[in-house]
């Protein structure tokens, strides 16, 4: 369930704020990848799992956006 919520939230936020979804996903992805590395460094493994999960969902968003890019 968490999977879908994260995925939907990013889309929803970009729609309400008129931000480009791909740009938003990229920024979240970069920030959270770095956050993951710091979390691992400080042994906050649960937090690292959470942030990496969101990175995975941003990857999926970028993929979807690549597919949609042609039709836009």
């Amino acid at each position: 369930m968490f999977d879908i919520i994260v995925f939907a939230l990013i889309y929803l936020y970009s729609k309400t704020t008129n931000l480009n979804v791909a740009n938003l996903a990229l920024i979240i992805g970069i920030v959270l990848t770095l956050a993951t590395s710091f979390a691992v460094m400080f042994s906050f493994y649960n937090f690292a799992e959470l942030t990496s999960s969101i990175v995975f969902s941003t990857l999926l968003i970028l993929l979807v956006e690549n597919f949609l890019a042609k039709t836009k």
């Binding site: 990229l26 992805g29 970069i30 990848t33 590395s37 691992v40 460094m41 493994y45 990496s52 970028l62």
Partner: protein, 935 residues
């Protein structure tokens, strides 16, 4: 011409050679020592060509279905190295260099083909470096050939997929056929079937993507997929058959193995993101490191650096649609496929953890056979690793362009140089263990498998001096298929089987998990220890030619050595250092003739009463079994006994909740009156909160309290409330003849990782009942199941592992007992005298075998299971006195292997004729092919 111009002109060639050089880094690893890896810890791959070339393998115990037949080509290739004069070490080095160098140049070629000079050559080089020394191998096994072969195959498949995507004409079938051929040449990749299957899945996905997602052509998709799968199975049926048979007939065994690993069917998202997986890193913060550098991956600055490639990959995927005018439409289509495949495989690599984990769980539970992917990271990650360099390049290229556009003062050449140097530094810091050979274990603690091995001198002496007999050599002491050898380096494996080719017998006597064979083993070992006179007498009945006393195993073997020497001194034939070899009988007895009077058929329901039956049936009886055992009966002659105290390592009594707060703390329970050869029921109950798997093991300790050996180990996954485990403890181990030793039950977490255990892994009110079900007669399992009677052996010739020719001298009604492990696929073929003599004269011929097997009207009988381990056929009213015993899957496997070789040969021949000799012929060939396919 200036240096820069020359460099730019030849940059792709220069970096090609630089990439090739990267493939030679494994040269640093050997340092004059042999290296062994998880492929059964085989020392000499060249011997595999003959050891595992049939669907039946008889190198260990009484043989079994050979799922390792897929290693055949690997054996032939390494054999080739030795045939041209290389010694063992040189052929090992060549094999690994061969794989790593090929992997490197194939990857470079794939990237070059894909990007077609649109990116600077150094980016191809950097990405090749990243691919070649991915941390993935630190997580599995650096030297294991199957994953490395997968890494060699992937870029080749990539090139062919590029070709396949570039055409819709019949030529695309040619590329699909070549893909199947490539898989055939790299068939050892299927030694781990799920890992190999994930590559096949990748190809199927590419077919789906091309025809369905990038253009809806359902008919074309069905045709392409069917063609690919048909050619694949045609070329691979020779190994698919044994593996399928093993899956079908031993599903329970596989399910058990997989279930015990179920809880680790996930790798943490934060590890997978950086291409690190679960295996090597489960001990990352524990007391034992696989290798010292490991710890740096979790410290600054490397912990940040290891995530840099994933950042670039992320940016690469983002840039696909942003990089306008760079990629043509075909490249864009491919990029869409590659990015989708990358994300699918990356998600699958995580297994059940994190984002998408619930979907994986669903697949695991609902999709047929999906449970075989017990370590998702090890199976799916290679494809994700293969695809990531593409996005690394796309991302880097885009980044460079943006920087150069935004900051016009930045020198293009200088910036490229900075990128090149920093990426080399990043890559080298991640791959450092490969470079400094840090990840080859050199441990000698008796438990961790040593990868670098230094066999003692007496081992080389044994190899050159000893001529073993044809029968089996009983190993003593032994812990099973793999033993821990106390060599200069340590070694875990069975060097006799995988190095000398000597057939050995030991606990776990069946290579294909036919566990009931162990019943006979216990009998053999008990007789060896307790009744030397009888042991020598019965040895040949069990095909035992001799005994290998493995004095070079870990542990105190002196007492056992003395006992064996005392009882069997007259049979001591060879001594090599710590190894003593006793020789008993001249010839093995493969087939024996028994009187009908000796046969009683026993219903599976009474299997557990087998020993009891011995008490009321008269002597001289053989027992045959029905084999579809589903039920068993328990006999308990004494009430359960409760052991009721807990102690920790310091001997303190433990009360209250049990909390695993430290991996060093192993909870220990002393077991009073522990007895080998008994059946135990372990009941435990408690409130398990967030319970992780636990290991329960029983250790024997000496008077000083040191662990001497482990007699039992089981991974348990506690369920809430009441749990029950049953196990029998039988042992062939030398140290059991020390009555003064004490036994302890140890309980400790499977994951020795603080990260996991900091997650409130609390077990409250843990209570263990150790119930010793003393089955009075289990101790007598070794009671004679074979009586002393006159042997009626028959003339038997072992033609190969799967074919035996038999001549029975006296006609009449009898039972023919064939002493290879029971398998329902053995067949007894009555043959005429002239066929027999022709076979004896000229050997077996596949065509005539096929005719004999399938060209007859009457159905051939399946064998009975005799004495829990061997095969038997009742012969009555039969005039033939000559027989062939054949393992039919071997015939089918051999036929299909020959077909595959033939197809490969013809394909190569056509390639040479059509491509290299005459280019105009090529076009003619294509036009003919096109016409015939379009028709």
């Amino acid at each position: 011409m200036s240096f820069t111009k020359v460099f730019l002109k030849y940059q792709y060639k220069i970096f090609f050679f630089a990439s090739l050089l990267l493939g030679f880094i494994p040269l640093k690893w050997f340092k004059g020592d042999l290296l062994v890896t998880e492929e059964y810890f085989g020392v000499d791959f060249s011997s595999w060509g003959s050891l595992v070339n049939e669907a039946w393998v008889d190198i260990y115990g009484y043989g079994g279905l050979n799922t390792g037949v897929v290693f055949k080509l690997q054996g032939y290739i390494v054999g080739l190295f030795q045939n041209i004069g290389m010694n063992l070490l040189e052929s090992q080095i060549s094999w690994h260099l061969f794989l790593w160098a090929l992997c490197s140049i194939f990857m470079y070629i794939f990237l070059y083909r894909f990007f077609a000079k649109k990116v600077p050559a150094y980016l191809l080089f950097i990405s090749t470096l990243f691919y070649l020394y991915t941390p993935y191998f630190l997580g599995v096994s650096v030297l294991a050939s199957p994953p490395r072969i997968a890494f060699v195959l992937l870029p080749l498949l990539g090139v062919l997929i590029l070709k396949y995507y570039s055409t819709y004409d019949p030529r695309s079938y040619f590329y699909l056929f070549v893909i199947s051929l490539i898989f055939f040449i790299g068939s050892p990749v299927f030694a781990n079937p799920p890992a190999g299957v994930s590559l096949v899945f990748f190809v199927c996905l590419s077919i789906f993507f091309k025809n369905i997602l990038l253009g809806v052509k359902l008919f074309r998709f069905t045709l392409d997929l069917s063609f690919f799968l048909f050619t694949f199975f045609l070329l691979h049926f020779w190994w698919v058959l044994p593996i399928t048979l093993s899956l079908v007939y031993q599903t329970d065994v596989y399910v058990n193995v997989v279930t015990s690993f179920n809880t680790i069917s996930s790798s943490k998202g934060y590890e997978v993101l950086a291409q690190f997986g679960l295996w090597a890193f489960r001990d990352k913060v524990g007391e034992h490191f696989y290798y010292p550098y490991n710890v740096w991956y979790y410290k600054f600055p490397l912990v940040i650096i290891k995530y840099l490639p994933s950042l670039l990959v992320l940016y690469g995927i983002y840039s696909i649609s942003k990089a306008k005018g760079v990629f043509n439409s075909e490249q864009k289509r491919l990029l869409k496929f590659f990015s989708t495949a990358f994300i699918i495989f990356l998600f699958l690599s995580k297994g059940t953890s994190g984002f998408g984990g619930s979907l994986y769980k669903l697949l695991n539970e609902k999709l047929f056979l999906f449970w075989v992917f017990r370590e998702p990271y090890a199976k799916f990650m290679p494809v994700a690793v293969f695809l990531s360099p593409i996005f690394l390049i796309v991302g880097l290229r885009q980044l460079v362009e943006i920087v150069l556009q935004k900051f016009s003062w930045v020198s293009r050449r200088g910036f490229h140089t900075v990128i090149l140097i920093s990426l080399i530094l990043v890559n080298f810091s991640i791959m450092w263990p490969f470079f400094v050979t840090d990840m080859h274990f050199d441990t000698n603690d008796g438990w961790i498998r040593s990868q670098r091995i230094t066999p003692p001198d007496y081992w080389y002496e044994l190899l050159s001096d000893w001529s073993p007999r044809e029968g089996l050599y009983l190993l003593y002491p032994t812990y099973g298929l793999a033993d821990f050898h106390e060599w200069l380096s340590g070694y875990s494996g069975n060097p006799y089987g995988v190095w000398t080719g000597v057939k050995t017998l030991g606990i776990g006597a069946s290579v294909d998990a036919n566990f009931s064979i162990d019943y006979n083993l216990y009998y053999i070992y008990k007789t060896l220890l307790e009744d030397p006179g009888k042991f020598v007498k019965i040895a040949s009945r069990y095909n035992i030619s001799g005994l290998i006393f493995q004095g070079d195993l870990f542990g105190d073997t002196q007492r056992a050595r003395d006992a064996i020497r005392k009882n069997y001194s007259e049979y001591l034939s060879n001594v090599y250092g710590e190894i003593e070899i006793y020789t008993f009988s001249l010839n093995p007895v493969f087939v024996e003739r028994q009187s009908f009077d000796n046969v009683r058929e026993v219903d599976p329901l009474y299997h557990d009463f087998y020993i009891n039956l011995k008490e009321f049936i008269p002597d001289n009886y053989f027992i045959s079994y029905k084999t579809n055992a589903e039920k068993s009966l328990e006999i308990s002659l004494k009430p359960f006994r409760l052991l009721d105290y807990w102690r920790d390592d310091l001997g303190e009594e433990v009360k209250g909740p049990l909390l695993f707060d430290s991996v060093n703390r192993i909870n220990t329970l002393k077991i009073s009156n522990f007895k080998i050869y008994n059946k135990y029921v372990l009941e435990y109950s408690g409130n398990f909160i967030n319970a992780q798997p636990l290991i329960i093991s029983i250790f024997q300790k000496n008077s000083r309290g040191e662990n001497k050996r482990q007699v039992f180990e089981k991974i348990i996954v506690p369920k809430e409330g009441y749990n029950k485990e049953e196990f029998e403890i039988e042992s062939s181990h030398v140290l059991e003849i020390s009555p003064s030793d004490e036994y302890f039950l140890h309980l400790y977490p499977f994951f020795t990782d603080y990260g996991i255990f900091s997650q409130k892994n609390v077990i409250e009110n843990f209570k263990i009942n150790m119930n010793q079900k003393i089955i009075s007669n289990l101790n007598k399992r070794s009671a004679d199941n074979v009586r002393d009677y006159e042997m009626y052996s028959v003339n038997t010739t072992r033609l190969s592992k799967s074919y035996y020719a038999v001549e029975v001298l006296d006609k009449g009604d009898y039972l023919l007992q064939f002493k290879q492990a029971y398998s329902r696929h053995w067949r007894l073929l009555p043959i005429n005298d002239d066929v027999y003599y022709r076979i004896m004269d000229k050997g077996v011929n596949i065509t005539s075998l096929l005719k004999l097997l399938f060209g007859r009207k009457e159905k051939l009988m399946e064998p009975m299971n005799i004495e829990y381990y061997s095969n038997g056929w009742l012969i009555n009213n039969l005039s033939n006195d000559h027989f062939l015993i054949v393992y039919w899957p071997s015939i089918i496997s051999e036929v299909f292997f020959k077909i595959a070789i033939l197809i490969l040969g013809v394909a190569l021949l056509l390639y040479i004729i059509v491509y290299t000799i005459n280019s105009s012929l090529r076009f003619k060939f294509y036009s003919v092919l096109k016409k015939s396919l379009m028709r």
